[in-house]
C-alpha cells in the first residue's frame, strides 16, 4: 500500500532552513549543514542506507511552490527521477523540455499536466 510521507531534515532545535532563503542561499544561511548527511563524502553507512531507501521507495514527489521556485533552475532537474508534481499555476511556461518528469498541477483546474514522459527510473 502506498504511503504518503512528509520528509524533512531538521536541526535539533527544529529549523528546516537557515535565514534569508532565496536564490543566493537556497537553503538559507548555513542551511546546507542540514543536508551534509546526504551530500558528504565518504558517506556514513546509515546515511547511505537511508538515502538509498528513500530513492528506492519513492514513486512520486510533491514539491512545494517555494522549493520549486528556488530550486528548479539551480538543479536543472530534481534529484528524484520519478514523477514530480508541483502546484505552481504559472510555472508551466517556465519548465523546459529537459525537465521531462515534471508535472504541473493547476490548482484552478485541479488536474495535472505532464511536461513529458513519467518514467521512474534512476
Amino acid at each position: 500500500m502506498t504511503k504518503v510521507v512528509l520528509d524533512m531534515s531538521m536541526s535539533l532545535d527544529g529549523f528546516i532552513a537557515g535565514t534569508n532563503v532565496g536564490k543566493e542561499y537556497p537553503m538559507g544561511m548555513n542551511g546546507e549543514n542540514l543536508h551534509t548527511w546526504i551530500f558528504s563524502t565518504p558517506k556514513d553507512k546509515v546515511d547511505a542506507d537511508v538515502e538509498r531507501e528513500m530513492f528506492a521507495k519513492t514513486g512520486a514527489v510533491i514539491l512545494g511552490n517555494r522549493t520549486f521556485e528556488i530550486g528548479v533552475d539551480l538543479w536543472g532537474r530534481c534529484s528524484f527521477s520519478c514523477a514530480i508534481f508541483c502546484a505552481y499555476p504559472q510555472g508551466a511556461r517556465k519548465v523546459n523540455k529537459e525537465k521531462r518528469n515534471l508535472y504541473i498541477c493547476n490548482r484552478r483546474h485541479r488536474k495535472c499536466t505532464s511536461t513529458g514522459s513519467s518514467s521512474c527510473r534512476r
Binding site: 535539533l12 532545535d13 527544529g14 548555513n30
Partner: protein, 186 residues
C-alpha cells in the same frame, strides 16, 4: 574525570511541557525508564545532580527524594531562597541549596561527584543558561513522538553562535522514546 551532562525530554517540535505546564505527554514511561539501558547507565554513572528550581519544585514533597528519587546522590538545587527546613536526607542523598548561580552549582557538584558524572536536570531556563554559557560536555535529548505545538521550548533564548554537536549514540526505547546523545564540540 566525570562529564557534565545536560539532559532533557522534548516533544518532536521541541517543547518540554505543554500549554498548561503539564509534562505528562512526555513521560508516559516514567516508571519504566529506570529499567532501560540508558536509564541504568545514567543511574550508575551519576555522581551528583544539579537541579533547577522549577524541576525541584515539580516534586510534590521535597522529602520524597530521599530513598525514592532515581539518583541517590548529592543534589545541588539552584534557588534564590534557601528553605528554612531542609528536606529529608540520607547518607547518599544530600541537599545543597545554591544561591550564586549555575556555574557555582556545577563546580560544587563536580567536587562531590569525584570520577562520576554530573547530571543537570532542569526546566527550560536552566538548560538554556547551560547551553548559552557552554557549561556541559554532553547533551542527552530524549524525543517523544508527540507534537505539543505550544509550551516552553528547550532551545530558545540561547542567542549563541551556532553550537556544534557531535552525535555519540542513538537508542530506541519503549513508548516511542528516542534517546539521543551528543557531545558539544568545543
Amino acid at each position: 574525570m566525570g562529564k557534565v551532562i545536560l539532559g532533557a525530554t522534548i516533544s518532536l517540535d521541541g517543547f518540554i511541557n505543554d500549554r498548561s505546564g503539564s509534562v505528562d505527554a512526555l513521560y508516559p514511561d516514567l516508571a519504566d525508564w529506570r529499567e532501560t539501558e540508558p536509564g541504568k547507565e545514567s543511574i550508575q554513572n551519576t555522581g551528583a545532580v544539579v537541579m533547577g528550581k522549577n524541576a525541584y519544585a515539580m516534586s510534590e514533597a521535597s522529602d520524597w527524594f530521599a530513598g525514592n528519587y532515581e539518583y541517590q546522590v548529592p543534589i545541588f538545587v539552584l534557588t534564590h531562597h534557601i528553605p528554612k527546613k531542609k528536606p529529608k536526607e540520607t547518607d547518599q542523598l544530600t541537599f545543597t541549596f545554591v544561591t550564586d548561580g549555575l556555574e557555582s552549582a556545577i563546580q560544587q557538584a563536580k567536587a562531590a561527584a569525584g570520577d562520576k558524572d554530573v547530571n543537570i536536570i532542569g526546566a527550560a531556563s536552566t538548560a538554556q543558561q547551560c547551553l548559552k554559557a557552554g557549561l556541559a560536555d554532553e547533551l542527552h535529548v530524549d524525543i517523544m513522538p508527540v507534537l505539543l505545538c505550544d509550551g516552553l521550548r528547550l532551545f530558545e533564548n540561547i542567542n549563541a553562535e551556532q553550537i556544534q554537536l557531535e552525535r555519540v549514540k542513538v537508542t530506541e526505547l519503549p513508548a516511542g522514546r528516542t534517546h539521543l546523545r551528543f557531545r558539544f564540540v568545543k
